[in-house]
Each structure stands twice: as C-alpha cells, then as structure tokens.
C-alpha cells in the first residue's frame, strides 16, 4: 500500500513538474493561428483580413530604396498580429518602417482604416509603426531602437495602448523631431512605457516622450516616460501638446534625471480659442523636470519633484 502511495506521489510530482515547465515556457500571448502568414519581409497587404508571423523576420538593407517591412496599402479592416515575433531592420538611414499604413505619405492610395497592429517586436526600423487613417489600434508591441519615432499614428478615434517603446534615436534627415510616440487627430495614448528618446548628436534638436498635435478630445493617461535626451540647444519634453483642444492628461508618470523643460507642456496658449477649450492635466507625477504642468488647466494632484 505504501509502495502504491509512493508511486502515485512520484507520478503526481512528475506530472506537476512537466506542467510547470510547460507553463514557464509557454508564450505570454496565445498565438493567432487562423491567419495569413507573413513569411518574409518586405510584405504588402492589399486586402482586409488577419495576417500574422510564425517566426522572426529580417528586413534587408536596400540603400537605394528603403523598404517597409509590412506595408498596408489601401486596405481597411486589417489585423497584423506578430505573435510576439521580431522584425529586425538594418538600422540606420537605409531602414524603412516596421509596419506602415500611411496614405498621408502615399496620397495616391486610399486611406486605410480600422487597422490593428499587436504583439509585434520591431527593432532597428525607421519608424517602428506608422499608421494614418481612422479607428486604428496599436497595442502590446515593443519597438526598440527605432529612428525618428517609435510609434506614429494620425487620424480619428484610434488608440495606442500598452506598448513599450525603447531607445528611440534621432535622425538628422527627418522632418519629425525624435519622439517615442507621436499622434495627430484624435488618438488616445494609454498605458504605454517609453524609455529612452535621444536627439541626434549635432542636431540641436528636441526630444519628446509623447508628441500630440491637433488632438481634440484625446486622452493621454497612465503612460510611463523616462530618459529623454535633447541635443545641445534643444529641449526635452515629457508630453508635448500642440493645440490640445480639450485633451485630458491623467495619471502619467515621468522621470528624467537628465532634466527636461516641461512634464506636460500645452503649447500655444495664444492660439485663438485655446482659452475656451483648454486641456486638463491631473494626477501626473514629474521627477526631474523644470516645469510640471505648463499651459494646461491644472486639474489637481499633480506632483513635481
């Protein structure tokens, strides 16, 4: 009887150990399987549907014509799920974007609306993700070492949430100042982590954690921003809002031992109508900034160290 109990216990332990190993090695995100596989990049999407990666991919250097890894061209209702896999670009000025749906810069194609980009790891691309159109969702991605901007989204009713953007670096050839996340139009920016935004050496340029322009009604909340490095005569800003008509900035945590001008900086208070439609900032925490909330309505509970 005792032998039987001991044998049962050993079997139970073995099963539990296998379960433990399986649990520890399982991916954090379940894999999307019913999808069209993107097996190589560059890859062009021209029809609605679900697209996914089943392995890591490399974007080759093409100095004469930089290629975007995944280019959504004139198609709406597209889901790109990288299933946690990595797309690595060549880095430097030869690199194209990681994922782009950008009628703004390709005006001959129809705008792409309702695009979802999730679970992608993008490294050494320029920029990481760039979407133009309405209703986009950019979530749970990690963009590392992008040039110019980590994530750039413009349009109405979109959301950028739960992404990690790290080690974004400036590039002297861009008209965009270096930014972790840049949004235009009406995009919510929620619960993202931005760590490391560095202006190009010799550029005299600014560095921005989150850059918001022409954002009526948007919500910027719960983001964590740190390590913003300007170049020489430039300035560093945690969250910079250009014409922030009635935006709501809440619960962000900003830490910058390198020093920065503004934590939440609402620009252009002299803009006609700005006084009537101000942004509200509350419950934000600033550590290492010269100014906390600048130019916005102070909704209280903002803490500056």
């Amino acid at each position: 009887m005792n032998m039987l109990r001991a044998w049962s216990l050993r079997v139970a332990v073995a099963v539990a150990m296998v379960a433990a190993v399986l649990a520890l090695t399982a991916p954090a995100e379940a894999e999307t399987k019913h999808c069209t596989e993107i097996a190589a990049v560059p890859y062009r999407i021209t029809a609605p549907g679900h697209y996914c990666l089943h392995r890591d991919l490399q974007l080759a250097s093409t100095a004469s014509a930089p290629k975007n890894a995944i280019y959504i061209s004139g198609a709406s209702h597209v889901v790109v799920d990288c299933n946690g896999h990595t797309i690595t670009g060549p880095g430097g000025a030869d690199s194209g974007a990681g994922v782009v749906a950008d009628a703004l810069y390709f005006p001959t194609v129809r705008p792409a609306n309702n695009i979802v980009v999730r679970n992608c790891r993008l490294a050494a691309v320029r920029p990481g993700i760039s979407l133009h159109g309405h209703g986009h969702v950019v979530e749970d991605n990690h963009v590392d070492g992008a040039m110019g901007a980590g994530i750039r989204v413009s349009g109405l009713d979109g959301v950028v949430r739960r992404n990690r953007v790290s080690n974004t670096v400036g590039w002297t050839g861009t008209s965009w100042r270096v930014t972790g996340i840049a949004v235009t139009g009406g995009i919510d920016v929620l619960d993202n982590s931005i760590d490391g935004v560095t202006a190009a050496a010799g550029s005299d340029d600014d560095a921005f954690g989150i850059y918001v322009s022409s954002q009526p009604n948007a919500v910027i909340a719960g983001n964590r921003i740190r390590h913003l490095v300007k170049d020489h005569l430039g300035a560093a800003y945690g969250i910079y809002l250009d014409k922030p008509e009635r935006a709501s900035i809440h619960g962000n945590r900003l830490s910058n031992p390198e020093g920065a001008v503004g934590g939440v900086f609402c620009d252009d208070p002299a803009e006609p109508g700005f006084e009537q439609y101000p942004a509200i900032a509350s419950d934000n925490l600033f550590n290492g900034f010269l100014g906390g909330v600048v130019g916005c309505v102070d909704g209280g509970d903002n803490v500056m160290q």
């Binding site: 539990a16 433990a20 399986l22 649990a23 609605p48 679900h50 799920d81 309702n114 809440h250 509200i280």
Partner: protein, 284 residues
Amino acid sequence: MNRHLLLCGLLAGLSLPGPATAETTHCTPITTLPATISQQGLYCLAQDFSTSATSGNAITINTNNVTIDCNDRRLGGLAAGAGTVANGIHASGRANITVRNCQVRGFRYGISLHGSGHTVEDNRLDGNTTIGIYVGGEGSVVRGNRVRETGGNAAHTGPKGIRTVDNVDIIDNTVTGVVATAGSGESAWGIDTWKNHRGVIAGNRIRGVRADGSAPAHGISNSVSGRISLVENRIINAGPANIASSAMSCSDADGIATGNHVNGYAGGIKYCTDGGRNTVVLSP
C-alpha cells in the same frame, strides 16, 4: 519534500498567464448568417461576415451560458443602410451571455442583450445606427469596448453609444462620435443608464456626443439611479456646446462622482454628490 515539490509544480502550472488577446480555437465556429444558438457553449467566428438583411438578428442567442468570441472578426451590416432594423448579436431573456472580441458594424443595435449576468468586453463597434451596446441585465458588466460613430438612423431615434438597464458596471470603454440624425431634433447620449442603483461607471472616455438642434447632448446620463459611483471618466466635447447639454447626471445625490474630467459641456455634473477631484471646464 515531495509534497512541497508537488505544490510548487501545481502552483507553477496554475500560474500560466491569461493572454490579453488569445485566439479562441476550441469552439463551435459560426459559419453562416443568420445564426441561431440554441445550446450553451463557446462559439467563435473564424472569418468575417457581412449581411444586407434589414430586419432580424445576424446572431440570435436562444439559451443561457453562451460565450461568443469573434476573434476580432467582423460582423458587418452596413449594406442594409440607415433604415435597417436588424441587430448584430441579440439575446432576450437569457442569463450569463459573454460577447467578446467582436467587430460589429452597421446594425440598428450592434450588441443587444436582455436578461442578467452578461459580459460584453473588448469589442469594437462602429457605424451602428441607434445603439452601439445595449445590456439590460442585473449583474452585468460592459468593459473595454470601443464604440464609434453611432447614429444616423432613418427613424430619427436619439442615438446612444452604450445603454444599460438595471445594475450594470460600465468600465474602461471608449465612446466617440454619437451623432443625432440631422433634422431629427433628437438628443444623443454617450452612456445612458436606467435603474442603475449600485453600479460603477468608471474610466470611460466619451467624446463627440452631438444632439440635433436645441435638443440636449448627454455624456453620461443616469435616470432613476441610486447609489452609483462615477469615477475618473473623461467626458469631452470639442467646440461650442448646446446650452442644454450636460456631461454627467444622476437622479439625486445618492450617486457620487469623483475624479472625473468634464470639458466642453454647458452643464457639468448635475445632481450627483461631488466626491472631490472632479475638474469641470464648461463650454463658454
């Protein structure tokens, strides 16, 4: 020793993290529309669907304890036009229905559940003509949904992004662009609740609610409400507001509002108890 090892192993096995956007594959696929579900269980969409039906429901749930996971697939009814009276996903008098990860477009009601104990989460709704999400059900929750561009119905009914009846929690939703039909003279609601006596309405983002003519626009309206909690909602309207508009209202002071941002309405927080930390910037 072995018992400790067993316990550790079991705990590790149980600690497998729940995926944020897991694809549901062990399910009964819905393969045609209209579909009627008569047996409890887990159902999913393995492809996008469109219908031009102008009445009835794309998916009808006729039993309790049903989960529909659309896996981010689309249920489209735009082809039926503004006069449609068809609904996307519908259940009447049922309990414990879950609808998640669905894209529902172009119906009169996008998701419409009556009964009790429902969960409506992580869906995307747009272009629905009258109500994005309707949940009439004690003990239900509506959370993490994005509801866009609701309105435009030919019947001139005032549009609502989210409408609930009875005690329902409404958490972390984005409602944007609720616009009454031009010439209708109708109101518009971001979130409209009725008989919510104990629910929590928190962390929602509501913007672009537009009534027609002199009718009022409502950010969050709670009629026949009780001891509800209204916490950290962001209710914003750009541009000049109708003088009758109100961002947030309770039936009486039993409701408590705290930590909300209100920006751009003529009326701020009405009849609720001010629990503090509310910031209100009224429209000039």
